[in-house]
């Protein structure tokens, strides 16, 4: 049993998801807007089940057009090659100079399976077990190059010290990877792994591997309970629970200006909807909600998905975030440059590095 630590910094993230947008400008502008608000990161969902561009590609296109904000695409682990996925995420970290994350997800439908024709649809718990293995092998592959592996030693003709490159020899239930990665260890060591921990099968993976867990809940009591459960489970996996950030995930409809919230909304709190917990109200009331949930240690912050991408993101940044900044509850500039630094997470040690006796 671990007691929640004292209230940490508030963390905020926003989703860039839009329907039927395939060009770069549709994403670059909103990402820059979120960066002006000092948000920790933006996410972009991805599924083979609906039309949309490859999310990791979009956020690598966004990377040179932004400077500080974290970039977290969803990449499914179900029909993809673990080796390719970890290389792409590591590369996003290189091109963004340490701002990459990866939201792991699974593909459960038969429709998605038919697009690949390699395996049939499987139940979520089996797929999340596989996702856990892929989270594990990704970290090993990121560590398969030690940070100082490149030596460029002209005297011996060696470009690398091969004692600092490692085969990972990872055998999962459905795949094997030899390693090492083709990509040197990325700037953050491990890009930030994000898991939506709302559903049961994903929660164990989140507790074990996630740096950021998202939970879709309508009230602070429920959020607090899930957060405590995640932190306890993380501790059982041998982790320091303070290395896990738990963000409440809300769909936000900031409506037309500062109109009064409907009963049970706005100041009254979000309610369940088809898209998940929905907050509908003004930007000021949303700031109140964020401050209140955070103050009561129900969450470490929020991941917010605008209903109307352009309108609501603008109101979120210029209304809600500006107010939180004004009250001293949210950063007004980025003191760090990597996503890990925004989240207050240390750069992980390399599991293969010989530490000279220290453990």
């Amino acid at each position: 049993m671990t007691a929640p630590h004292g209230r940490g910094l508030l963390h905020l993230a926003a989703a860039l998801d839009q329907q039927a947008a395939f060009d770069a400008a549709s994403y670059v502008g909103p990402a820059q807007l979120a960066e002006r608000g000092g948000l920790d990161f933006v996410t972009l969902g991805d599924t083979f089940a609906r039309p949309g561009p490859d999310a990791l590609a979009v956020l690598s296109r966004v990377a040179p057009a932004t400077r500080r904000i974290g970039l977290v695409p969803t990449v499914t682990t179900t029909h993809t090659e673990p080796f390719h996925v970890q290389a792409a995420v590591a590369t996003l970290d290189w091109v963004s100079r340490g701002r990459a994350g990866w939201q792991l997800d699974v593909s459960t439908t038969e429709g998605e399976a038919r697009l690949f024709g390699r395996r049939h649809a499987a139940p979520a718990d089996a797929l999340w077990r596989e996702a856990g293995e892929i989270a594990e092998v990704a970290a090993r592959l990121w560590d398969s190059w030690e940070d100082d592996a490149e030596i460029r030693d002209e005297a011996t003709g060696r470009f690398i010290d091969r004692d600092k490159l490692h085969h990972v020899d990872f055998r999962g239930a459905t795949f094997f990877v030899k390693g090492p990665s083709i990509v040197p260890r990325p700037p953050q060591g491990h890009p930030v792994r994000v898991v939506d921990a709302t559903e049961g099968p994903a929660r164990r993976v989140a507790a074990r591997y996630a740096d950021v867990a998202l939970v879709r809940v309508v009230g602070p009591a429920q959020a607090r309970a899930v957060r405590a459960e995640l932190r306890d489970a993380a501790a059982e996996f041998g982790r320091n629970p303070d290395t896990l950030r738990v963000l409440g995930s809300l769909v936000v409809d900031l409506g037309d200006g500062e109109r009064a919230a409907e009963p049970g909304h706005g100041g009254g709190g979000p309610r369940q909807s088809a898209q998940g917990p929905l907050y509908r109200g003004g930007p000021v009331d949303l700031a109140e909600l964020i401050a209140a949930w955070h103050a009561s240690e129900a969450v470490d912050g929020f991941h917010l998905t605008p209903v109307e991408p352009r309108r609501d993101l603008e109101r979120l940044v210029n209304g809600t975030v500006a107010l939180l900044q004004h009250r001293g509850l949210f950063r007004t500039f980025y003191p760090g440059s990597t996503l890990r630094e925004h989240l207050g997470l240390a750069r992980p040690a390399n599991q293969y590095a010989v530490t000279g006796g220290a453990s």
């Binding site: 395939f22 060009d23 770069a24 670059v28 083979f48 609906r50 039309p51 949309g52 561009p53 490859d54 990791l56 590609a57 979009v58 690598s60 296109r61 966004v62 990377a63 040179p64 057009a65 029909h79 993809t80 090659e81 080796f83 390719h84 290389a87 792409a88 590591a90 590369t91 996003l92 290189w94 091109v95 100079r97 429709g111 038919r114 697009l115 690949f116 024709g117 390699r118 190059w145 490149e150 460029r152 002209e154 011996t156 003709g157 060696r158 470009f159 690398i160 010290d161 091969r162 490159l165 459905t174 795949f175 094997f176 990877v177 030899k178 390693g179 090492p180 083709i182 990509v183 040197p184």
Partner: protein
């Protein structure tokens, strides 16, 4: 008066092999985005057709250990190219991606995304080289024999084209279904038709199967550079195969990969070329090159001494992840003869036998040499392979491109926005 034939130029990011010199003090990171940005911006400043990234899916090994003498480590290609799309405006962006260790739906989607995000600048270099050694990093694992590799690649490309064409030009998604020997898939593709209709397809490989595959499928062939006569023969052979597929000679561009060494005088250039060779073939690399042919441990030999008098192992297994030497005994005999004839040490022999630059000279002679290849029907253009990261193209763009332009041999501005427009390729017809 006929219209002057203009060449196409592409920039290969310096490779993960001994062509790339890393001991030069100007050599910078092969992984930092700044290096990619520098080379891509340089290529765009030179009005190049496209920027090209190779691929590696398993680090090369020698004697069971990761090969440590050459530049190693690179990013994942498509991800880097999407980032480069943000810092360039016209330059084509070509990724090498293996058809054996990917699936058509996912790769077609990633390439279509690159084409959308770059406004029509995406290209895919289809490679099939694969073996059980590389397969150890992948779910699929295993080994495909040579014929199956090409059969899979051909079906892969055909399937990708079906997916790219699956939405109507008006942007309505329609279901697809493909049933073949290698793929049995169905559903709906995730993106509308991309700005180029279909990304440009490049094929690398000089074998007979490779040539036929290119004639049937590719828009660009990335081939090896040789003599003018060999180039003309290859060019005529591949172009001659196009009619069978209902294609015109100009529908497929032949672009050999070349290296260039410039100097203020011919002697200066020759001196610089020799210095580059010396850096490419370090004493350790010379022994390694020998071990790849002899197939045995030669670490006790002196690289500045004579070649071994023992014969090579007929089935060398020391090196993994490299192209095999076809006939080690013959190569060994050739190298010994070379060494005897000129009195060369191991290192000198390796330099003499393998250290070749395609064009060495003043900017004027290099421009003339490139132009000759194109006007003589040996190439449609070139993929330049610089020896230095990231500044290896600076001098070419500053000194040779203006001379090519003066000769009327190269464009003076981009006239279109897509890679297809740079290459003068027809827009693919929507097959519905």
């Amino acid at each position: 008066m006929t219209v002057r034939k203009r060449m196409h130029l592409a920039a290969h990011f310096p490779g993960v092999n001994s062509t790339t010199v890393w001991t030069d003090p100007r050599s910078k990171s092969q992984i930092d985005f700044a290096s990619f940005e520098h080379l891509a911006r340089t290529a765009e400043r030179g009005l190049f057709d496209f920027f090209f990234l190779a691929e590696g899916l398993r680090l090369r090994e020698h004697k069971g250990r990761v090969h440590d003498l050459d530049v190693v480590g690179r990013p994942e290609s498509i991800t880097v190219l999407n980032a480069l799309a943000a810092v360039t405006e016209r330059l084509g962006l070509a990724a090498t991606v293996n058809a054996t260790f990917n699936e058509p739906y996912e790769l077609a989607r990633r390439l279509a995304t690159l084409d959308h995000l770059s406004g029509g600048r995406a290209a895919w270099n289809v490679v099939t080289s694969s073996d059980a050694f590389t397969g150890e990093n992948f779910r699929r694992g295993g080994f495909l024999d040579r014929a199956d590799r090409y059969a899979r690649a051909a079906e892969f490309v055909a399937t990708a084209r079906e997916l790219w064409d699956s939405w109507t030009p008006e942007g309505v998604a329609r279901p697809f279904a493909h049933q073949g020997q290698h793929f049995d898939i169905a559903g709906e593709f995730g993106l509308p038709r991309s700005p180029q209709g279909q990304p440009v397809v490049i094929q690398a490989g000089d074998s007979d199967e490779g040539r036929e595959f290119a004639a049937a499928t590719a828009d660009v062939v990335f081939t090896r550079h040789g003599t003018l006569d060999a180039g003309r023969e290859f060019y005529a052979d591949v172009k001659g195969r196009l009619a069978t597929y209902g294609r015109a000679p100009e529908d497929l561009k032949i672009m050999p990969g070349v290296t260039v060494v410039l100097g203020d005088t011919a002697a200066d250039a020759v001196g610089r070329a020799a210095e580059i060779c010396r850096r490419q073939v370090s004493p350790q690399n010379a022994l390694l090159a020998l071990e790849q042919i002899w197939g045995v441990d030669l670490s006790s030999y002196d690289p500045d001494g004579p070649l071994p008098d023992i014969d090579p192992e007929p089935e060398p297994a020391l090196a993994q992840g490299r192209v095999r030497v076809a006939d080690p005994l013959a190569v060994a005999e050739k190298w010994r003869a070379l060494s005897r004839a000129k009195g060369l040490s191991i290192r000198q022999t390796v330099i003499e036998a393998s250290g070749r630059h395609s064009f060495v000279g003043t900017p004027e002679t290099v421009a003339a040499g490139l132009d000759e290849f194109v006007t003589a029907g040996a190439a449609d253009g070139f993929i330049l392979v610089p020896q230095l990261t990231p500044g290896g193209l600076d001098e070419f763009v500053d000194r040779v491109v203006p001379l090519l332009q003066e000769r009327g041999a190269f464009r003076t501005e981009y006239t279109g926005t897509t890679l297809r427009s740079h290459l003068g390729l027809p827009d693919p017809i929507w097959k519905g």
